[in-house]
């Protein structure tokens, strides 16, 4: 391990939604919002840059996005520049890469932008692009995309633990209602249990409202060594712990019991140990609710409730304001939408405003510890734990 600590010193976000904007428009918006959040930093101060993006080669027919994105943010990197891609976990991976670059001494300040153009003119093409992160030759060739995969996760969890479709729906209701207070979220209409339960079927048992939304969006953070951070802000948000685990590829090779995610349990334990905390210390969790079942399994594997009791945990209201932990105050992937490369950066933005007490109507009072998590498959997980101190 390197010396010292690493912190976020700036963060910005675009409106998520079906945007009248190109891939590079989104990058420029996120870059501006990030610089606007800390007037002590100008593009000329930034010598290291990371872009997190999953498939600009498909949705914008644009490869080589790192120098392009840096240029569109006014940055000319001389110390470090990379594109980070780990499918839906790219954002958390990218901030983790910035952390590693600073700890390695290659730089002491990194701008990280996550951006994804998803909403191309043809809806069919959006579904086609969704196959790109799967194993093309052995699984995507059958049209397999995330909805049927997570539907089978839900089937396995319901069969083994008796989790109900109503319990899945409660995750969606909570997250849609949280997004009423998030002006950047794709959806800001809230939802009722009846609305979720009667929404159209996508892949049994997952209905439309059980799924995160395809959306365009971008977000940015600036990550600094502790010494730089102290000079740039009175309220840095520290990275206390991080972990990353991948235990198989493709999906058929994940551990046989799909209701258990041992890779997430292991990643959580590693990140808690590094941060010197446990689940009881976490005030806010913003984890990967790509589908409602994912959030339920995340309660379990991250140690907030017993294995198999995730459905009961949401039903008892323990993950909302006034409960033990506030889960997805932003609205999560379900209501914010999930622009793949931007999602982990959006979580970093949420950590930044929540832990500095700048989250407005959705502020979790006195929040000190924020758990961020992305997954790129049920056996591939990326975690960042942020803290005020």
């Amino acid at each position: 391990m390197g010396k010292g600590r690493v912190a976020l010193v700036a963060a910005g976000i675009t409106k998520f939604g079906k945007r009248a904007a190109t891939f590079r428009d989104l990058i420029a918006e996120a870059g501006k919002a990030t610089f606007d959040s800390n007037k002590k930093i100008s593009p000329k101060d930034v010598k290291a840059f990371i872009i997190s993006t999953v498939y600009p080669e498909r949705s914008a027919y644009q490869g080589h996005p790192a120098p392009l994105a840096a240029e569109w943010c006014g940055v000319r990197p001389t110390e470090f520049h990379e594109r980070v891609e780990n499918q839906c976990g790219s954002g958390t991976s990218a901030i983790r890469t910035a952390y590693a670059a600073i700890m390695a001494g290659l730089t002491d300040l990194v701008m990280v932008i996550g951006a994804e153009k998803v909403m191309v003119p043809s809806h069919q093409e959006i579904f086609l692009n969704a196959m790109g992160g799967g194993d093309r030759e052995w699984e995507s060739c059958f049209g397999v995309t995330p909805p049927p995969l997570f539907a089978m996760v839900a089937q396995a969890h319901m069969q083994k633990y008796g989790t109900t479709e109503e319990q899945l729906a409660m995750v969606s209701v909570k997250n849609h209602n949280h997004s009423l207070k998030n002006p950047h979220a794709h959806h800001q209409k809230g939802a009722t249990l009846e609305q979720v339960m009667t929404s159209r079927m996508i892949a049994s048992p997952l209905k439309l409202f059980d799924c995160s939304t395809n959306t365009d969006g971008a977000a940015g953070v600036i990550v600094a060594s502790e010494e730089r951070a102290r000079a740039l802000t009175d309220n840095p948000v520290y990275i206390l712990g991080t972990a990353q685990v991948s235990d198989a590829y493709p999906w058929a090779n994940y551990p046989k019991d799909w209701s258990s995610w041992p890779a997430l349990k292991f990643a959580g334990e590693k990140a808690y140990k590094m941060a010197g905390i446990g689940p009881k210390d976490v005030d806010i969790a913003d984890t990967h609710d790509c589908f409602t079942i994912s959030e339920i399994i995340e309660y379990e594997e991250l140690g907030f409730c017993k294995k198999g009791e995730g459905g009961k945990f949401i039903e008892e209201g323990r993950v909302d304001y006034g409960g033990e932990v506030v889960w997805a105050p932003s609205g999560g992937l379900i209501a914010c939408g999930h622009p793949f490369g931007a999602t982990g950066i959006r979580q970093g933005y949420e950590a930044f405003i929540q832990l500095r007490g700048e989250a407005g109507d959705r502020q979790v009072e006195g929040a000190e510890i924020f758990l961020g998590h992305n997954l790129s498959g049920l056996g591939e997980h990326h975690i960042l734990i942020y803290g005020r101190n």
């Binding site: 397999v144 089937q155 996508i202 999906w251």
Partner: protein, 149 residues
């Protein structure tokens, strides 16, 4: 209006790499025997002759011992459904809803994700047995679907 100088890629039959079906021929793929076996109605994979590991998908190097001394082996004739779903929304172009996807477990320890065809979704259940159904794909290619036994 001026003549269109760029052809619409979507209708160009020479665009090969944008469809999801793999390249299955010896000039493009070193595990082409898998597809040759499939055309004979056989589902196969590779087993390592050095360490004995049987792997999925088939490969040219064993992930357990990094040997390239591998041989082809047939799957057991039936597999069993561990979980399934019926997808009706969000189906990619080229595929028709409803799509029944299943996780299929075989006695050789391997699990495969594949669609079930020639199958009424209402008849599918966890624990039921399935058998291979080789399906034609565009441009002389084949894929390994399954159907209820």
């Amino acid at each position: 209006m001026a003549k269109q100088e760029i052809q619409d890629y979507i209708i160009d039959p020479n665009v090969y790499v944008c469809d999801p079906v793999p390249q299955e021929t010896p000039d493009q793929n070193r595990i082409y025997p898998f597809y040759d076996h499939l055309r004979e109605g056989r589902l196969t994979t590779t087993r390592c002759k050095d360490c004995g590991h049987i792997m999925w998908p088939p490969r040219i190097v064993c992930p357990e011992c990094i040997s390239d001394n591998l041989e082809w082996e047939d799957f057991p004739p039936t597999g069993k459904i561990y979980a399934f779903t019926v997808q009706v929304g969000g189906v990619p172009p080229g595929f028709k809803a409803p799509l029944v996807y299943a996780l299929i477990d075989f006695d050789n320890g391997i699990r495969i994700i594949s669609p079930l065809v020639d199958t009424d979704p209402d008849d599918v259940a966890v624990g039921k047995e399935v058998v291979l159904k080789v399906v034609d794909a565009p441009r002389d290619r084949v894929l390994f679907f399954f159907k209820l036994k």
